[in-house]
Amino acid sequence: MTDINDDKLLQAAAQLDREISPQRDLWPGIAQAMHAPQRAGWAPMFAQAAAVVLLVGASSAITYVAVREPQPQLAQIAPALVFERASFGSNHELGDEFVDARNALVAAMNVELEKLLPTTRADVEANLELIQEAIYEINQALEQEPDNTLLQQRLLSAYREELTLLRRVSGLTRDIMMRNDI
């Protein structure tokens, strides 16, 4: 490679178009995000969602107890399975009502997890950990960009996945939250 060739490369690069028109109008999506309410009505919906999950956990436990076989000695729950305080970045922390409901759910789940078969429990824990890691990372990102609607959407999606995982235990199928919940 020579300097002459390098110069030609850079000269050619400088000739590339700097302005390129998108194939479609991107303004409608931008306008929607500009005017979308940032947190309207999400707290009650999360509280409801948490209540549903609590109910699911309890019903699953009852179902399990009703059909379970004699089990060996119970193992201790992995300490890593700790629910973080949920938030939407520094500007959008979830309300106390939801946090209380979620804490109650966590306590109930911890009790029920102890009763599951080790393999089942490990699967549940592994899946929850994955989702909670995602929630944690998205929350970290939201600390830097609290108004980033994409991150908010992904956080909501992660919460939804968490709830979906739990709902599957008892066969519930309907969606609980939507994008407009935040």
């Binding site: 390098d6 690069a13 400088a14 590339l16 998108p22 109008d25 303004w27 999506g29 931008i30 992904r154």
Partner: protein
């Protein structure tokens, strides 16, 4: 996100606004109005600058879909951060910085580099880069295939003319790293383009 956002309106063309300011004072006025939450003024700024922002996003991501999402992210962030724009630099430069942040944020979080489609042909499409002739088309395609770090530096420095200090600042890397990435990019590009007769 794109799919979600594009469902918002089907008649946006009815609301298209005049995009070309007669003077720089017009743009400054639009900025001031937009800073007071005037969405119409911000749409004028969008119409004026979208090609610059999309071009940068497309060159940096090498992917049409990613570039569209990054462009939307950039303008949404610009809307929310507009009050912080003090006019210390040109508005287009400020927007470029926001766009670079949007690109880096998306690529860092989504890690969709491996999913990028070969956008070389798309980059060279006449509708978007009509002035690119055959040789430039090859170069554009080769840039798209560069590793992410080298591509970002090459695009900002060689295509958009930012200094290494500026590029490093925008990308969050040291000036020396920017220079090293440019050297790497040039080496890779020459290795790819020389067999195609680029230097002949």
């Amino acid at each position: 996100m794109a799919a979600l956002l594009t469902t918002y309106s089907s008649d946006y063309s009815c609301d298209m606004v005049e995009t070309h300011p007669d003077t720089a004072a017009d743009e400054a006025a639009w900025i001031r109005r937009a800073q007071r939450a005037d969405a119409l003024a911000f749409e004028k700024l969008y119409r004026l600058h979208v090609d610059k922002v999309y071009g940068l996003c497309l060159r940096m991501t090498g992917n049409v879909s990613e570039a569209e999402d990054c462009t939307q992210d950039a303008f949404i962030q610009a809307w929310h951060k507009l009050t912080k724009f003090r006019g210390d630099s040109a508005f287009s430069t400020w927007l470029h910085r926001v766009a670079v942040n949007a690109v880096l944020g998306r690529m860092r979080k989504a890690k969709r580099e491996r999913e990028r489609v070969d956008a070389a042909a798309e980059l060279a499409a006449p509708a978007r880069a009509a002035s690119d002739d055959g040789e430039l088309r090859d170069l554009a395609a080769a840039i798209e295939r560069l590793p992410e770090g080298a591509r970002h530096v090459f695009v900002l420095h060689a295509v958009y003319g930012y200094s290494h200090d500026e590029a490093g600042d925008m990308l969050g890397i040291a000036t020396g790293t920017s220079k090293a990435q440019l050297h790497r990019a040039r080496k890779l590009l020459m290795a790819e383009l020389q067999p195609q007769g680029f230097t002949e």
